[in-house]
Subunit: 327 residues, 2 copies
């Protein structure tokens, strides 16, 4: 049964999505629920299994069953063993054999289930259904709370020695810069991720423009979204702050271009939302830094998958089939 | 004749080496001569061909002929077309079809000759004969006048979209730092390569220790070698300067570890020469920056190939057989 429908599971820090899709990406059923990550892995996995069974039932499949499962989850994790290692957004999950628990709970052999970290899963989704289709060398950068990366090199996902390649958010951009969630200073993530942007905004809240302060309400509640929306309305202060952010991000992208010489760089959430407010300056700045042999034909785009990314990530993980190494 | 001897050609800015080797790496004959790069490609290639014929004759091969050629040359170049593009150390070579000229000049079909840039060639040599043997993910960093990289990912050379991946020397380490040969500021190459170290030493020559100034003679003649030798003798000033250099280099290596999660990082010339004066602090600093999941099993070593690198590079290029794309 190598053409049957696929169960896609996306486990995030705030929501869990389960979806049934054809292998071509057509959505047959989908459910979303809050993660309630504070409950820990045992109760969360019970809820994931219940939600998955309901989604399967809703899809009313002819044979009644799915034949492949793909799970996207925050890393670090071991895709060969199917084990979640130490995800910062899922407290208490250290060492949870997520893949086998899900497969067993749904009556499938573990060989039919695959687990991948969210950035890698998104890169696989872009390769199969999005902006990386037909590209041999593509980098996907998550741009939400943190900055992670999924590297498509020579046509396939590159995972690295311990499956943790793509931690592009922890290259250092500003020596002695702001503290990052990882404990280092000046990481790309500390200055250009959602949380990094919010922190930088909060620190200088009193000197921000009235429009930006009013949009946010308070230093505690200001986010990258307030920045983008106020910049879009033409506020000079927001535009200047965004320009600084673009400069940091362009340097991080340029480093990756020097090292990996990709055809395309695909940027997630924040850049998708900001569109040309970020894309146009990023393209320009990367071309200023990198020589034509690297930058002339380089594409820098926002992910075209939008909200479909969460269901297509798990599907792409299932279809990829995981690393070729022994389980 | 898929087991015959190989002609290895290494074309550098200062010397040309030609060697005949068995496929297992046994040296049968070798010649070295000054490059005289100022003569331009036409006369240089004539001399390369003459030197190659002499080396072949010296090897006194049973059948009288080599059946494979591997050429290592400064990049950027196009290994599919066999063309040298714009090498900074070979003036006037832009667009020279080096591979085909060499093959034709020696009476071989162009399909028996392969061309690769020096950093990639060195990485291939490490993979086949050196410290990367048996490793799936290995990074080789040249550490001489400039800093280049050759990336072995998933067991093979990763070249990137336009064959220019591995330009690890141009990631930015010090914003607004010293000017690099590439025109940017604060590149890893500008602070930690041979030329970068020499420039930093020259700039503060008058405040260097007497031992260091005496070893070098003048600001114009000071090199990384003077630094390493004076540091080895225990000079505090040299040790402090080397410590700063190690910090820059460790940050560049850590960025690569975050992005590529390799098993081993192999460092060339300067680090080979400095040994544990650089290796021990580099290992320590990279472990301080990168988390255990990336750094616990990471090896950081000096290239074990020494002077054999130049002949083994071309051999490894020949045996690799070049990118699989169309010629």
């Amino acid at each position: 049964m190598d053409s049957g429908p696929v169960l896609s599971i996306d486990i995030g820090g705030t929501k869990i999505s389960t979806a049934i899709l054809t292998r071509e990406g057509r959505l047959l059923a989908k459910r979303r629920a809050p993660s309630q990550a504070q409950e820990g892995p045992r109760r969360m996995i019970d809820r994931i299994l219940t939600q998955a069974r309901e989604t399967v039932a809703e899809a009313a499949l002819p044979g009644g069953a799915i034949d492949l499962i793909g799970i996207s989850c925050g890393g670090p994790l071991d895709p060969v063993k199917g084990i979640v290692l130490k995800p910062p957004n899922l407290p208490g999950w250290d060492g949870t054999p997520l893949r086998d628990l899900v497969a067993a709970g749904l009556g499938l052999d573990a060989s039919r289930a695959h687990l991948e970290n969210d950035a890698n899963a998104a890169a696989l989704a872009e390769l199969r259904f999005g902006a990386a289709q037909g590209r041999r060398h593509a980098l996907y950068l998550t741009m939400s709370t943190g900055i992670g990366g999924g590297l498509i090199l020579d046509g396939r996902l590159y995972r690295g020695a311990t499956f943790n390649a793509g931690e592009v958010g922890h290259q250092r951009i500003v020596p002695d810069g702001p503290l990052c969630g990882c404990g280092l200073r000046g990481c790309l993530e500390a200055v250009a991720s959602g949380s990094g942007i919010a922190r930088r905004l909060a620190e200088r809240f009193d000197s921000l423009s009235p429009a930006l302060r009013q949009a946010a309400g308070s230093a505690e509640s200001i986010t990258a979204r307030h920045l983008v929306e106020t910049a879009r309305a033409g506020d000079a202060c927001a535009l200047e702050f965004l320009e600084e952010t673009n400069r940091f991000l362009a340097q991080g992208i340029a480093n990756l271009v020097f090292i990996l010489n990709p055809q395309i760089i695909i940027l997630g959430t924040i850049v998708s939302h900001a569109g040309d407010l970020m894309l146009a300056p990023l393209r320009e700045k990367v071309r200023e830094i990198c020589p034509p042999v690297l930058a002339a034909d380089l594409e820098i785009v926002a992910s075209p998958l939008g909200r479909r990314l969460e269901e297509l990530s798990g599907l792409a993980v299932a279809l990829d089939g995981g690393p070729s190494g022994p389980r």
